[in-house]
Amino acid sequence: MAAPEAPPTYRLIGTRIPYIEGPLKVTGRAEYTDDIKRPGQLIARLLRSPWPHARIRSIDVSAARAMPGVAAVLTGEKYPTPFGVLPITHDETAIAVGKVRYIGDIVAAVAAVDEATADRALQAIRVDVEVLPEYTDPKTGVEKVAEPIHARGLNGTNIQKEVVQHFGDVDAAFAQAHASVRVRGSYAGVTHAFTEPMATIAEATPDGRLTVWSATQVPHYLHRALSEVLGIPMHRIRVIKPEVGGGFGGKSDPLPHEIACAALSLETGRPVKILFDREDVFVTNHGRHPTQNDVRIAVDAGGKILAYDIEALIDGGAWSSFGTVTTYYNGVLSMGPYRVPNFRYRGRRVYTTKPPSGAMRAHGGTNIRYSIELGLDELAEQLHLDPFDLRERNALPPHSTTVNQFRITSTSFVKCLKAARERSGWDDKFRKLPYGRGVGLGCGFYISGSNSPIHFTPKMPQCTVHLKADMDGGIAVHCMQADIGQGSNTLLAVIVAEVVGVDLDRVHVVRVDSDVSPVDIGSYSSRVTFMMGNAARRAGESLRDQLLAAAARVTGYPPEKLVVGHEKIEVRHRPDISISYIDALHAAMERSGALLASGAYTSPPMGGDFKGARAGTAPAYSFAAYVAEVDVDVETGIYKVEKVWAAFDCGRALNRLAVEGQIEGSIHMGLGQLMGETMNYRGSRLMNPSLLEYKIPTPQQMPQVECLLVGDDDPEGPFGGKEAGEGPLIATLPAAGNALYDAVGVRFHELPITPEKVVRGIELRQQSGKSWKGVS
């Protein structure tokens, strides 16, 4: 047998490269949407519904319109075309039409000379409504209701989407199981809480064009939605994405305010800006769904998983948003990192009269994973197995297929387990630390790019990258991918520089602008590194080949004998014979001027042949095994996650610095959901729409993080890379949850785990007579 081929090495790929826009951001010079000021711009403000559910009888805007300084007041009827991020669930309008569905729903939009005037105009609008019943608990919405929130609710209920799937024979598997466990998980809603509030500027111009600058993750879907709702063809709309200060999924729907802002510009003929305040951001939400799940797992005597039986009740809030995907994901994203031979799932997402939930980092994979990983920890205990051993026994093998037809290619999950176990000192700590201190294992699995583009245009690639190299030696890169702080601009530049063999500073990533950027479908589903990376590589190769051809003409060596060196092209195995990059470029330009090159990516066909088979299919998956160590003050319930050993398989880490940043940020965000972040509703009312009362962990609560990047190259990922933007969040929560069990002997199935719940949990354990680590 031949020795395995050593993985290739690269000049830039795999090193630690600071973000190319970093110096601009840390000095305040980066341009975000609100930094842009257009001449004569108006300021828009939105009148939001004070009612959770009401039928609009009439809206009197005459007084507001008559106020000096008010340029336009819009209500919903003018642009009633429904839209939504998913083509199958268009249930939103730019401004409410007929009904309002949550406290914060947009009733009217005002453009005025300044914010104070716009605010005064909002006060002058009179809205007459018939108040309708509010529906805050998804449980009540699964039955027929008096006044469904949307007409499209299933059979007079508030159910937005129901998914039922069954693979194998779950009942038979449970009948022959040696052991089983049931976890009923309860998850409060959480939200993205990115730094930059939403902001949009729209400018309709007399040439019949509309330009929209917006803080968005999905410039292309925004482009489509603007066109559909405003009735302007896409080629007359120009969408520009300035720097974006975080998104995490919260800027991945085309949002009503973006369309309303554009409508106000069309109405007034002037540029219109809208900047959200923090409360606007909170009520716009689209965060992680409040969820109840009920998970049963059956195993054999050796701890092999026989079946999952899962139910999920998902609180959607007022709109569909990504909800159909969410409903699938809460089931199917349990298909890894373990082999599950029998699987049954029933998921229901129910409309409620609350701010809409949507996609948030590790969308659909977080809550279900927590329940499963806590269940597996409990099963390991029942079977007297080490939690690591139980997981290793069940690991999905590389190049396998799951029971629901997911195509698994690369997985370094077992390597993740080994690294986390060894580096954390697990065998010396698990059940051996004193009462109040504990370690826990949690694992993760996530898609590396959704295989199905949301707006499915057959035969159109998911990403295209264009390059232009001109006589100055610089390479301009055009692509509609959305860098929202995750480092995709840097990766784009790195890949091009790597392939063409030039210094990084020759590569200039041009700001996303639909007039010049070829389509990429945006930053969601952890698709950008994989899809844009492959497209960029191909574009780079095309440019490189033009340089090689020119170098061949100059040197007389055939192109196949030439290779790219650093800033030069040289003869293979004869580095003493070379031509500089600049000379090769200029030679290439003699015939055609500036060089142009293009590369694209389309994911291969995959998935089964049944309803919903595409949900969760991806060209690759990431894997994770995390160990968390916690320290609990058992009297107050206040705890600190002291350290996380994060073993992660993102294939080859293309920019190690960026990957480590994503892992650290993911752990921070995951711990937020675990420890205290919560969309705190009383009825339909959000009680904490502020960063003071929405408890994002502070730096003092951040554990030490040791990143263990153990992934082997993925066969299809660019340079072997896979996603590292969302998957790293998932394992954080169950690792810490299981560590809390090791610390105090209580399984916390309800998030967030606030100090009061820890105290209550310990009390209940004591009342049950169960002692833990020798402490009663």
Binding site: A116, E279, M675, G676, N688, E693, K695, T698
Partner: protein, 330 residues
């Protein structure tokens, strides 16, 4: 969110300030660090057309071991080596206030008179309007304890309990001249979340004075909150004690903030311990009794019953520490 216009006044002396206040009363607020007031103004919470900035009033400055000017920034207090070593218990409270950025603006006087807080009060105008305004701003009813008489907004300053247990006094200037009031009695036990102190309209905090005995006390401050910075107290316990050479309790004081509308001293419970030797059972008894007597309501992030329960734990730990018989976590 925009700030409605107001007129800004910038007096330079205490006398000028008080005269100005007399003229503008009641349509003004004093502006110290502004870290609480201005966000509240943006939410249109009890805004007034005049702000009297205290920035330029030099008498309100200065830090010594006997006297700290009311306009002293918390960050300056933190950086003052002499103050820090003389009053480590107060410093424990100072560094727990908000964040370093807020402490760079926030002042001693501002923290003593910080607005009481409530889930139903600290909200934007549209939020409050949609629910119906409350007793404390623009309305006539309480959403926490449904009735129309008393506001239950929670006292959320960190420094008052820690200064109270040192028997510090505030110097107040007003239309009738100057007076000194113990920090402890400045707050109105009979008042509510609106009427929470005994200062008269227009009276100005000039300074905090420390009695010499304050430097002989061992003091501590413990704060309960979800996160170890940023958050206001959900409970704040200050304790101070002195033991005689033979180890009996010579002085013991305890003040609890963050649970009711004012910081509460428990002299009736700590007094009987003076003259005795500190013992754990006595400290536990004291803690249990204090826990019984505090009455938090559910108007902050953590549930009222948990804050009540934690009062016992925090009192036991704080008092145990100052008496040198600590148990549990420091």
């Amino acid at each position: 969110m925009h700030l409605d216009p107001f007129e800004l006044h910038r007096p330079t002396s205490v006398e000028e300030t008080v005269a100005l206040a007399g003229r503008l009363a009641p349509k003004f607020d004093y502006l110290a660090g502004g870290t609480d007031l201005l966000p509240n103004y943006k939410m249109r919470l009890n805004t007034r057309p005049n702000l009297i900035a205290l920035e330029d009033v030099s008498e309100l400055r200065g830090v010594s071991l006997d006297r700290v000017g009311a306009m002293t920034r918390l960050a300056d207090l933190e950086a003052h080596g002499g103050f820090r070593s003389a009053y480590p218990g107060v410093l424990e409270a100072v560094v727990e206030v908000a964040t370093p950025l807020v402490r760079a603006s926030g002042t001693l006087g501002g923290n003593l008179l910080v607005e009481t807080r409530c889930f139903f009060f600290n909200q934007s105008f549209p939020w409050r309007e949609s629910l119906g305004f409350c007793l404390k701003a623009d309305g006539d009813r309480c959403h926490v304890v449904p009735q129309k008489e008393k506001c239950y907004a929670t006292f959320s300053g960190d420094l008052a309990p820690s200064l109270s247990v040192l028997d510090a006094e505030v110097e107040v200037a007003g239309p009738d001249g100057r007076r000194r009031v113990p920090v402890t009695t400045m707050y109105d036990a009979a008042g509510d979340g609106i009427q929470r102190h005994h200062l008269k309209p227009g009276e100005l905090l000039v300074a905090v004075h420390f009695p010499p005995a304050a430097r002989t006390l061992r003091a501590t401050y413990r704060k309960l909150r979800v996160r170890p910075s940023f958050d206001f107290p959900e409970l704040g316990v200050a304790a101070a004690a002195r033991l005689t050479a033979d180890g009996t309790i010579d002085h013991l004081a305890l003040s609890v903030g963050g649970t009711e509308t004012f910081p509460k001293r428990f002299d009736e419970l700590t007094g009987p311990l003076v003259g005795s030797r500190p013992t754990l059972p006595r400290v536990r008894e004291l803690a249990a009794e204090v826990q019984k007597r505090v009455r938090p309501v559910h108007n902050t992030f953590l549930a009222a019953d948990y804050r009540k329960k934690m009062t016992g734990v925090f009192v036991r730990r704080a008092v145990g520490q100052v008496l040198g018989i600590g148990e549990g976590r420091p």
